[in-house]
């Protein structure tokens, strides 16, 4: 079924509530105040899915959490390398390897970002369960450091079955010290969309 305006509004609402929860959770984790911008949501055509990055092969950090239960699919977060390292510094107090060209060292150093993925997913899932009675189980989060277009293949493939664009959410987290923009893809499988709409009485 096509992603219509009503579904987009639902996902935006989940995004809003989820981001609010996430800010609280992150503030607790970092023991610091975290402000959060409202998520910008829009359907982005595949041809533009890496806009905002310098090129489709720009290196990024992606964290994926799979969902199962009443809703299947996944949530994927994508950060630029600068944002990922800023986040790492915020979480651990360390700034990562001095040589950012050392791919293996970078992958190892950024592992703590997976924990942020966990928190964000937890935040979105509690937003969903506050709006429905759906039981959704998240997987362990997984980090990938690779080209942004390759990462974007993941949500594109799900949306590709029904159209030419993907629902894209972008949020800015900031505190006094830094500002981090993260992009999120909340990607239920197509039949999960139907279940979600039904659970919301729509």
């Amino acid at each position: 079924m096509p992603i219509d305006q009503m579904m987009m509004d639902v996902l935006k609402e989940i995004g809003n509530i989820g981001t609010g929860n996430a800010a609280t959770a992150l503030a607790t984790m970092l023991d610091a105040k975290v402000d959060i911008g409202l998520p910008q949501c829009e359907m982005v055509p595949f041809s533009e899915i890496t806009r905002g990055f310098s090129s489709p092969d720009e290196l990024v950090a992606g964290v994926l959490v799979q969902l199962s239960g009443d809703m299947d699919g996944f949530i994927m977060m994508v950060l630029t390398m600068d944002a990922a390292f800023e986040l790492l510094t915020l979480i651990t107090g360390h700034s990562g390897p001095s040589d950012r060209e050392d791919y293996a060292a970078v992958c190892t150093a950024l592992k703590p970002i997976e924990e942020v993925g966990n928190i964000l997913v937890g935040a979105y899932l509690s937003a969903i369960s506050s709006m429905t009675n759906m039981f959704i189980a998240p997987s362990v989060p997984v980090l990938s450091v690779d080209m942004v277009m390759a990462m974007m293949n993941v949500p594109a493939v799900v949306y590709g079955e029904i159209g030419e664009s993907a629902l894209h959410m972008e949020t800015e987290f900031h505190n006094d010290l830094s500002s981090i923009t993260g992009r999120y893809f909340l990607v239920p499988t197509m039949d999960s969309y139907e279940r979600l709409m039904k659970a919301l009485g729509l």
Partner: protein, 161 residues
């Protein structure tokens, strides 16, 4: 000499000395069809295995089956001779392979590779070389002057096949 860039679910055809390229193949597959006599090469960046399995198949370049078929038509129209056409391909990775739960969505890379191989076999186009699967992204460039497919990765080096 230009390098023509194609994006996801797109295709194009070039002739030597131009080259053709696509960046950031994850689970997607990049397939090239090449005629070394005329030095014509087409490339398609496919996302999904089959146009028949989905509700919206209007963009033929999106799918392995319809995309390769469309590409074959395009390279022939550009002057490539059917009997001399050969193929190479790259991509079909699983970008988040170490998850504890694996499902059909994340296995789409393998299914794309399978679908491409099947369509090429069906069309009796020899698949001369491939660099597929794995857990990493690839950027590829085909040079019709040499017939070589160059593949760049972030952490696994660079090679030509």
């Amino acid at each position: 000499m230009n390098t023509v860039l194609i994006g996801i679910a797109e295709l194009n055809v070039v002739k030597a000395p131009d080259k053709i390229s696509t960046l950031g193949l994850g689970s997607c597959c990049g397939v090239t069809l090449y005629d070394k006599t005329t030095k014509i090469c087409g490339m398609v960046h496919v996302m999904l295995p089959s146009a028949t399995a989905v509700s919206d198949s209007s963009n033929k370049a999106k799918f392995a089956d319809s995309g390769i078929l469309l590409l074959l038509d395009r390279v022939q129209r550009a002057g490539a001779a059917r009997p001399g056409i050969t193929a190479k391909m790259a991509g079909g990775a699983n970008m988040f392979a170490s998850t504890t739960m694996q499902n059909n969505l994340l296995r789409v890379g393998e299914r794309n590779v399978q679908a491409c191989r099947e369509m090429l076999a069906k069309l009796r186009i020899p698949l001369l070389a491939e660099d597929v699967l794995g857990t990493y992204g690839r950027s590829i460039t085909f040079d019709p002057a040499t017939g070589m497919l160059n593949i760049k990765t972030v952490g696994m080096g660079e090679k030509s096949i």
